[in-house]
Amino acid sequence: MAEVKIENVRKMFGEVVAVEGFSLDIQDGEFIILVGPSGCGKTTILRSIAGLETITSGEIYIDERPVSKVAPKKRDIAMVFQNYALYPHMNVRNNMAFSLKLRRLPKKQINEIVERTADLLGMRSLLDRKPNELSGGQRQRVALGRAIVRDPKVFLFDEPLSNLDAKLRISMRAELLSLHQRLKTTTIYVTHDQLEAMTMGDRIVVMNNGVIQQVDSPQNVYDHPANRFVAGFIGSPAMNFIDCKIHGDKGQFFAVSPGMRLKIPEDKIARIKDRVGQELCLGLRPEHVIHSSLVDSSDPEILFKGSVWVIEPLGSEKLVYLRPENQETLIARLDPHVHIKLGEVADFTVRMNLAHMFEKTDGRIIF
């Protein structure tokens, strides 16, 4: 177990800046998720921590020891790769024992560690098989076992579940979490799957274009996104964005857009009152767009009409794609039993107290 400190790291590939000004303190035993779209630099940072990439500037510390010039094998970290990277010519036992053999541990001790880890992962019966005789999930387990036997200071995971089918991914996600709770090893986990990001990490690091956008707990990132990018990236379906203009009228303020005139709640007015006449961007989570039949009294000042053009019943909820007048499509996450028909023009209301407002130009958050 170890603390990892990343200080102002920059990584360039030729003229291309892959990571810029990346700073992060990771606590001992913490489970950190690096999340972002493809090419955002999350894997580059992970590989830099592993020592598989040389950073252009900055420093990485593992337990206060600068490691940017230390060889990968001397960093005492274990990494699970996206494609598992098992040694194809070795059986599972030898795959797991390889690092221990290099450390010249006694054969008996190696066997004990390998078998104990195999038991922990429920794969004792697979020890004599070669990787090509294993299913995707089993290979994943072996890759995990190979990392665990080393008892490293830090675990690095590079999208380890992305090659598994949806069902297996869910069960492996739970297993990884329970494993982390038992081992308490500092873990840095890269994914582009926001569901993994939300469910697994103590903290999420959202990245875009090589720059950190936000570092916070999953719930805070969801509830209080730092900017429009984070708001749109975290959450599925994504947040609805509506271009609007701020109107002021007798001490009340409205976000106005074709077919909509939504009153801004009292507690948000302080941040908006100087912006009258300006074009901003309103952000609404799908669950904050509600069918009017589901609320007792709909405030007419947060009501709008929308025509329903797609309904996706998901069992536990219903996703409704609706088009307010002259507007882009909005998505509403509704109760599965709400009566709504395709083509219907229905009244919808909005939880404005949970809505967000962003700058239209650079996406900075206003509230």
Binding site: G51, L52, A71, A78, M79, H89, F98, S99
Partner: protein
């Protein structure tokens, strides 16, 4: 339905006949040489050729009794083994580095040496090897073989190295393995098929090469193809012993290929893919 079955049977029969014909076409010269090696001088010279005859091993005895033959056999083996070892020692790391640094043009640049006709090297080599004391030595013959074998081996191995996932090497580094250790313990076992392929091709090349040893070897390092050449002279052609020697030379190559056949055919296909 009956027509369909009939068509299928006819098709298969033609297919097998064509296969047999092709096999016969390629194997006939060798069968002929084997037959010649088992005939006495009279039967060997008979016109028309005799297909039914009493086999004799006299020709083989004559070959073995010719003092040079066993010595040449030993020379050939030593030259081939040294050639294969040196070839792998140079070509494996070279191909690996070219593959990892994605400098494929380098392998084509190396292949350039193969495009010149062999004969143009012989006179300069003869003079240089004489001056360096490499004439009529194993090292001289090995060096001449390597000039042609290394570029070809590098080129053939590239595809195999490119197929080894980089992550496997990275996983080994993180597990505590050095770069050299990773190359030996991870990469080499994964290109085993390629190594066997290039060894088989190298064996065939170095075992059968005639022109280089003819010019660059003297009495001490004469190899088998040169010795076989000695069974004929300006006045006569001794078919029986010549055929027996040819059979004896071919046998090791056949055995080597049969042992490695599985890897060899797959290796050829893989190596040529990229």
């Amino acid at each position: 339905m009956r027509n369909y079955v009939l068509k299928k049977i006819t098709g298969k029969t033609f297919f097998w006949l064509a296969c047999l014909l092709a096999i016969f076409f390629f194997i006939f010269p060798f069968l002929w040489v084997v037959m010649m090696s088992l005939k006495n001088p009279e039967a060997a010279q008979a016109v028309p050729p005799k297909l039914i005859f009493t086999p004799t091993f006299e020709n083989y005895k004559q070959v073995f009794n010719a003092g040079d033959f066993l010595n040449a056999f030993k020379n050939s083996f030593i030259v081939v083994l040294l050639t294969l070892a040196a070839n792998l020692i140079v070509a494996l790391p070279a191909a690996y580095i070219i593959a990892r640094w994605r400098q494929k043009w380098l392998s084509f640049a190396i292949l350039f040496t193969q495009m010149a006709p062999w004969i143009i090297f012989l006179l300069p080599w003869y003079i240089i090897f004489k001056r360096l004391g490499l004439y009529d030595t194993y090292i001289g013959l090995v060096l001449s073989n390597l000039t042609y074998l290394i570029p070809f081996t590098v080129w053939l191995l590239l595809g195999f190295f490119e197929d080894v996932p980089k992550e496997i090497e990275e996983a080994a580094w993180l597990d505590g393995c050095s770069h050299t250790g990773t190359f030996i313990r991870m990469v080499i076992p994964l290109v085993k098929g390629g190594i066997i392929t290039v060894c088989t091709l190298g064996f065939m090349f170095a075992w059968n090469i005639f022109l280089f040893p003819l010019v660059l070897s003297g009495y001490r390092s004469k190899t088998l193809p040169v010795i076989v050449y000695n069974f004929q002279n300006d006045n006569s052609l001794d078919f029986g012993p010549l055929s027996a020697a040819a059979v004896l030379i071919t046998l090791p190559v056949i055995v080597f290929i049969l042992i490695n056949q599985k890897y060899f055919s797959r290796g050829i296909a893989l190596g040529g893919r990229k």
